[in-house]
Each structure stands twice: as structure tokens, then as C-alpha cells.
Amino acid sequence: MKHRLSLQIGPVSFRIGSAWAEPLDALARLYAGYSEPEDGIADFTVRLEPEQIWRRWIRPSVAIRGDYILPDALPLALAHGLLAAEMGMNLQMALGQKRFLLLHAASAEKDGRALIMTGESGAGKSTLAALLGERGWRLMGDEFALLDLDEGRLHPFPRAVSLKNKAIAVMEQEVPGDRFGPRLEDTPKGTIRHLRPNQEALGRMGESARPALILFPRFGAAEAIRGVGQAEIFMRLTQASTNYVTLGAAGFDALAKLVGACPAAAIDYPDTGTAIGLVEELWREAA
């Protein structure tokens, strides 16, 4: 492909090819400070291609392709090319990752132990993780948490944080402007702005952590902490995993070990300040 960029993100590397320069220019700016994969070999390939040949120039339309694709996927406008690159990387992970049990979760580390936050989109886990990353925690990732199949440790996957709608303003108040990508309006996911994790997250992206607390956060309800039964946690985590089924017995064992070892709670919160308070409180109790 005409334009290429390679990125190492935690233990996983990507090669992104694009028919247009713009998305990769934006990606390179957003991922300033990330390294290229050692020995140049990428785990996954993403390709941003014109939907039809002539759509490279006329009302350009970016189809997300790569090692793995989903049928019926609609293209995105070229103005949203950066989002297409991000979705492409997510897609490769969701469909192709076999080294780790993949959980759709945000994670952060403190003192060598990891907090896992999982739940439906819009629950606020990306924003919470990003905030924790600015408040004494190390952000490990906002989209995917990688659980080692052998040792049960959690590995970082610090992609750019995907902030949606109101969460953008929240983080714009916390973090300098040069860590943000462009503001993308009217995307299929609403308004999006990407945020690069801070220096600590980047510098330590090779360090795994022992899972110590699982939270199911829910934004928009009165402050509450609720216990969750272990069997229900197991079930919810399978729902949050894109590769639990493909991993078979190894996935079962890894998840059973995680659930057996880790306390968990569901937390409801009306605002992020309350959320951070609940997180810190439960983290102390889990120590």
C-alpha cells in the first residue's frame, strides 16, 4: 500500500497501510512517542482501502480491511480515517488475538496490581481509566485488557483513549492539548476525540500486573456499591471477551482463575468525582 505506519502497543504490534496519507499522518501524530515493532515484524495488518477504486478520490470512502474483516462493514468518510484506523486495529485484536484472553475492559495499574473495569459501552470506563491515569495510576488500556493464559497476569495495551461526546470536555480540562487527536464530528459513534496516554503509560507498556480488583461501573445512577456473585462475574466476563470461545479450555481456565482470585463489585456513580472515590475505596479494601 502507498502509505504505511507500524506501531508496537504493549505486547502486540500492528502494520497499518493506507491508500491515503491523511489518516496515517493523523495516526502518527496521535501515536508520537510509540516505537516501531522490533525486527519490523507486525502481529496484525490493517488496511484502509477505497470501497471501490474510484472512491479513492471522489467522495473518498475508507473501507476497513486487514488480516481479519467483518462482512457488511460499512466504509467511513475519509475525514474519519483516523477512526477507521483505530477500528481496524480493534477488529484485528477482537478476531485474531490468540495469545491472550481478550477482555473488553479498561485497566489501570498501581503498585504492581491491576484494576479491571468492564461493562457496556457508554458506562464510562474509558473516561474513568483516563482520569485514573492522571491521578497516580498507570493507564494500561481503555479498550482491551490482555490476560495471560499461563500466568494470569494482565498485560498493558495502551492505545489512544477513545473519548466520546461529553467525556471529551472532561479530559480536555485535565490534560494538555498536544496529547489529543482531532475532534471528529458525526462519526457512526457520535463525536470522538482520541487521547494519547501519558509518558508513564508509554514508558511502562512492557510491564504486566497481577489482577486485583474487577469493577462493573455504571454511569448515571445514584452512588452505590453492589456485590456480584462469582458465577455472574464469570458470565459477564465471557460476554466481555471476544475470544473466550476460540480459546476453549485455556480460556475457561484463565477466566476461572481470574474470577477465583479477584474480588469484584458493581459501582454506580452520578459523576466522575464520585467514581474515583468509589474506586479508591474499593482498591484499599481489596489490598
Partner: protein, 134 residues
Amino acid sequence: MSGTDEKAGGADAFVPSRRTVLVLGAAAASTVVTIRPALAQTAGSVLNCEIPVPGPHAAGSAIAADGTPVAAGTLGAAPPLARPLRGEEARLLLQGSTPPGINPSSAQAYANYIRRLQAGMSGFTCYASLQMPR
């Protein structure tokens, strides 16, 4: 009854050493839940897809509560959607929620319409992608 119940037998002998109470439960109770994981929670992050409601094969039809297309204006039926559902919205409907911009009293009808999608109908692979375990 105190004491142990023992039977001579091989390795397969069913020999608990103490009697415990086993709650058999009511016949109607359910004791087996099969986990059916799907791409569902991640779908919005990986897939940009759409489901028109109804599809072109039934353009203009309203949607009955059970998800079947019916004549426009049928009493109690949900109106056709002006724009196709995004994957995220379909996922929310399938889990019983109402996405923003959708009338809550129509949500169930739209969810059932999605569930009834067959191969070849517009949006089927979008729906399948949301559901398929990998």
C-alpha cells in the same frame, strides 16, 4: 442416619461418606445456563454496520410487536425507521434497552424485527456479526 454408607466397589463407585441433603428443586426451575458469548460488547468499536428497519423487501411497512412487517398505519405497530439502525443501536435493542432517539414503546418491535432477520435480508450479516461467537 448416622455412620457411613459404604459399598465395596471400584474407582467409579458412588460413595459419599456422609449423607447430605440434596435440594432437587421444583421441576419448573432452571438449573443449567449455557453461556453464549458474542462479539456484542465490542461491536461498536470494531464494526460500522447498519440494519434498515424494515429492509428494502418491505419498504414502508410498519413493524408489529412480534417483529413482522405489516401494513403502514396498522394499530399498535411501530413506524418504519427513517434511517437504518447502527450496529450499536441494534445491540442495545437486542439487550432490551432503548437507544437514544427511538421511541421506547417501539423498541421491543424493532428488537424482534432484528431477531427475525434471515440470510439474504438487508442487515442480516450485521446482526449475525453482533451475535456470533468467535
